[in-house]
Symmetry: C2
Subunit: 680 residues, 2 copies
């Protein structure tokens, strides 16, 4: 056994014997203990702070004496005076081993910290970004041994990192010489490491020691909204979030109309590429300003988006996505120079775009898959990202299937007579008394229900202006539960339903949800509104059902609703409508903007990129447009909840009345014609 | 022993047994025989033409029967009708082995052809450019197995090339889909392969089968002249050459004045970068037009240049090169995107820049080293690239030394009273009768000597306008041989020399070379002219002598004069002046634009890039500015040929009179003050 002192690190438990005088940082590196250091042990960065523990440690079988570490030295003294070293802390690069010692590495000194995610059910992200800072001292030029400043910088970086093939981004050739001289031959380099085996690349340089922060941008580039998070790459923390409308909206609300625009207008795709890039740069400006960050400190960017946005963003004509076989120009993940895609962040930054799953299932769905990890689920999970187009994933450890389904914009309030975007004044929650058939509701921006005292005063500012997507789901589901609408989607007459809120409205009936006031007219639910929602939800369900067919199952264990809209849907109401398959209500959860979360994971963890690339290759892709059973599922799913699915779990917790308001007239009940495929 | 037929390839001599029915191309590939194919054996490209030989081959021990190959087939028939197949030729991918056979691979069917160089003493270049064309058929998109068009293209290329990590240049993402469809899912890709281990990259695409030609550009970016050769990358042939004045000249004739311009004028280096890039693009336009080539078919570019041009071309401020320690921003070879350096050729092209040897010894000197290969010389060779600045290499198989020396522009006719650039009307050759001291001369553009009948009429168009660089060398050397000027550089009086062509001219004397005519005044050589040449040649010689000191030798085995100027210098006259060390006159050869040749070698042969990078690292660099003995050598070398070197070999073939015209006056003979360092 070695007579050298024993050094034990916590929490890792790694241990080893080291000669007296070995710096703790050196011991940690040799044992593979996760202890940070930017300056390579020069006592500058203070990233390697550790906490020695003294006394008896029966568990470890050691006694740590006061003299176990070298004495507090001048470097630590200076650092403490300048910036303050927390009590009990030492600098790992300065304190040396003198006797057996137990060393705790506090979380903030670990390179691979855990990043806290808000939801309890998802795993933590281990921080391991693609960009790291490294401080080095560079040998000064010597005319007797002439070599370029660059070559001496790279030599210093090779020694500091142990990597032999580091390159410098071309744009740094010019500033290199002034930076080295300004830093008096010391420099901090931001090194980008892409996939394993890729060449590490210096993408930014600062004179002397630079402490950061450096940032990364995670962007969900939606057809309607561009949402971005700015993350501190040292802590993983989101320091600012911002969103803006996709400026492409002026070329068409939904994606198919943008594809048409490109087809009908020469150079139209270029216009849209310019618009979305300009929007993105506006977002960068906004988010950097919110965080008080300099755009030149944004050194990584990760993007998720649907295939049409993907192509338009990259400057590719989306023409082929508008027709079978929906061929993507490229489906694999991409790592591109930020400057090549017109991104106004640090030049040299490599932008990473998650892989697309299929011609209709984009990098946004890959983001959802990365965030929700159906491939790691023990039970069978259905993940639905509800938007103008729904992306659907079904899977568990044994495999994952994916498809998209053209739900259309009804869930977002479009095509609904009183529909509107989620904004103050919009009805978002509805309850209908099954006996009296009287409704009550809440509007966005007001906490009171409409039958509570003070509601009229509270809505004074906004009024009641319409119904948003989650509100329309609730009101129709409530109407179904109250027997106002039948399974086929017909609203009953006042006579059939026993409430005067139902009234003849053309050839069908409508339900008056709100009587209106001096400023705003009444809000009614028409039979057309119900048709629109039936179409949308039937498309969504049919996609999910197709995946279940592929898998040979009739039920799923749980359902995850992703997307901003998914976050506001009530599980019960969605299930009453038959949007999602039957399953225990407490097994339906919301994941929020899972696509954006996926982008953030890929931003903060290099390995996650490989992971999603591998998963996407393995996912079984299902093209709903050509699946013969889609039409059959669609017709069945037009009924609420479904013409053939019994929904036993749902019916065990509530009773659905089963009136029939079909008077044998127009036969325009369930299903109807299949709409033109629509994307969004 | 195998009972399969024996296939013997000539000229390689490779042989092997192959089953009946094996295509000759397949046999060649398995044996590693150098047989070209772009289309991968589809009978499209015809690159794999071979010539079967029939009859008895005692040397190989085989008899080849008429039936040794399969019969002429429909593909060959079609190709022959369309384009004509030379008599006796077959397509290697169509003809299959039926019996023992001897197959000759004609030179044009070899991938690695030898490129003929004009000079006999240099080795051949083996053609192996970084860019090759590959034709593939791409699997069509299938919505049931969705993958991007790019991914299917890369898969086809992986199969065709056996390389697993091929990438597509970003700029091709957009045109990819239309190209694949236009070619009906066949495409020809230009693949660039950089250094070993670098990722192969598709840099250009054509629909269907594309036969080329594709081109590469080799450029010598001089301070005065930009010279380019356009080479066909399939044949190695130079298809066009062009040159133009470096537009940077308006910022300063010599390099130091350009460095000063950058220092004195904010943004001055940017202006000069813009100017040289614009000039280069003009050259590209000219040369492509001369060759009838499309700029988009220029798929490789190699550059050599001195360090200041190197930095200005790359957009780096040359400030540091203007002062000790003359630190280069980067010295290693560079491979850059052509678009990053503003080069208007095929986007996606990677431009290669040879490494710099030292702060004063640039990539142009590396080009000379690659072309003249002192490191492979059996005897000790001194290679001198004479320009405004001289780059000097000394070496053999045991090692190479390099330095530069500030010769100044005198060799180019500047600082000479009657000096002018080499152009029609300039005196380029001179002889002086040692007895009569009468001169005769030739001017550029006229074949007659000045004492021949018809000379006056022949010069009618241009007149005699001045003396160019090689002319000034000759006239001074002739004056020295005729005893008109003494070893210290003083011109004698009419009395001392016995010719009235010498006349008092201020405090010294001048020699009247030409009496002038009605249009042009007389041309005289002043003592100031001789001083200027003494300075220049002393600088050149001192550099060479320093390298000889480093090596511990007093003589060299041979001398190579590189550069356009070197091509016109007479070895004898240069040695009389003491520009170069003593050595047999037939051991002094001219290499022409060796720097440009080096660029062309690096363009045509990938391995040459590794070779010069390796050599440059091994070259011993000598910085003349700080070598204590430089000054001493300089003073000695101011004498003609030299104050201390005996020049025995030279004196064995001619007699140098040794008058002394120093009358004890001004003492302004040899040497004088060391001039300010000048670069060029």
């Amino acid at each position: 056994m070695s007579s050298d002192p024993l050094v034990i690190f916590t929490p890792s438990g790694k241990r080893g014997h080291f000669p007296v005088g070995t710096p703790i940082l050196t011991a940690a590196r040799q044992l593979g203990v996760d202890l940070d250091s930017v300056c390579g042990g020069r006592g500058i960065c203070s990233k390697c702070q550790i906490t020695p523990s003294y006394g008896e440690f029966p568990k470890h079988g050691v006694t740590v004496h006061d003299t176990a570490l070298s004495e507090w030295n001048a470097v630590e003294e200076r650092y403490d005076q300048k910036r303050g070293l927390p009590k009990g802390r030492r600098l790992g690069c300065q304190a040396t081993v003198q006797g057996d010692v137990v060393i705790d590495v506090p979380p903030e000194s670990q390179v691979h910290k855990q990043v806290v995610r808000k939801r309890a059910e998802v795993r933590e992200i281990t921080l391991d970004p693609t960009v790291h800072l490294t401080y080095v001292e560079v040998v000064e030029p010597d005319m007797h041994k002439p070599s370029g400043d660059l070559e001496r910088l790279l030599q210093a970086l090779r020694v500091a990192t142990g990597e032999n093939n580091i390159e410098l981004d071309t744009h740094l050739l010019r500033p290199l010489q002034p930076i080295l001289r300004k830093g008096n031959w010391t420099v901090t380099a931001a090194i980008h490491r892409g996939r394993d085996g890729a060449t590490p690349r210096v993408i930014a340089l600062w004179p002397g020691y630079f402490d950061g922060p450096v940032y990364g941008l995670a962007v969900d580039l939606g057809s309607t909204t561009i949402a971005g998070h700015l993350c501190n790459l040292s802590t993983g923390e989101v320091v600012a979030s911002s969103g803006l409308m996709n400026p492409q909206i002026r070329f068409g609300e939904d994606l198919m109309s943008r594809v048409s625009y490109a087809m009908m207008n020469k150079g139209g795709d270029h216009e849209m590429t310019g618009a979305v890039r300009a929007g993105l740069n506006q977002l960068v400006t906004d988010i950097a300003s919110e965080a008080g960050a300099d755009k030149s400190q944004i050194l990584d960017a990760v993007f998720v988006m649907n295939p049409v946005m993907h192509h338009l963003f990259l400057g590719i004509d989306p023409f082929e996505l508008g027709q079978a076989p929906f061929a993507l120009a490229t489906s694999d993940a991409l790592s591109l120079n930020a400057t090549d895609i017109g991104l106004d962040i640090a030049p040299g930054t490599r932008a990473y775009i998650l892989p697309c799953i299929a011609g209709h299932v984009g990098a946004d769905a890959a983001g959802v898959a990365l965030s929700e990890a159906p491939d790691r689920s023990e039970d069978l999970v259905l993940v639905v990202d509800v938007g103008t187009n729904a992306e659907i994933l079904l899977g568990d450890r044994n495999g994952v299937q994916a498809c998209s389904s053209p739900t259309g914009p009804a869930f977002e309030g479009a095509q609904i007579s009183a529909g509107q975007r989620a904004a103050p004044g919009a009805i978002e929650r509805v309850e209908i008394d099954p006996v009296t058939k009287e409704p009550r509701f809440r509007v966005i921006g007001v906490d009171l229900w409409s039958d509570e005292d003070g509601f009229d005063a509270a809505i004074g500012a906004t009024g009641v202006t319409g119904i948003c997507g989650s509100g329309i789901i609730e009101v129709i589901a409530e109407m179904r539960m109250a027997g106002i609408v039948d399974a086929s989607g017909l609203i009953g007459s006042a006579e059939q339903t026993g409430t005067s809120r139902c009234f003849a409205d053309g050839r069908t009936h409508s339900y008056r949800l709100w009587d209106g006031d001096a400023d705003h007219g009444p809000i009614t639910i028409t039979n057309g509104d119900i048709r629109a929602i039936q179409m949308a939800k039937a498309a969504l369900y049919s996609g999910a059902r197709l995946l279940m067919d592929k898998r040979g199952v009739d039920t799923v264990d749980r359902v995850v609703l992703a997307g901003a809209f998914g976050a506001h849907i009530s599980a019960k109401h969605a299930m009453v409508l038959g949007m999602i398959p039957d399953c225990p209500l407490d097994k339906v959860t919301s994941a929020g903007n899972a696509a954006g979360t996926g982008a953030r994971i890929a931003l903060l963890n290099r390995a996650a990129r490989t992971q999603i690339e591998t998963l996407v290759r393995k996912i079984e892709k299902v093209e709903t447009a050509v699946e013969p059973r889609f039409q059959e599922h669609f017709v069945n799913a037009s009924a609420m909840p479904n013409a053939v699915e019994p929904y036993p779990v749902l019916r065990s917790v509530l009773t659905l009345p089963e009136p029939s308001f079909n008077t044998g007239g127009s036969g325009e009940a369930a299903g109807g014609g299949r709409r033109r495929r629509r994307r969004g």
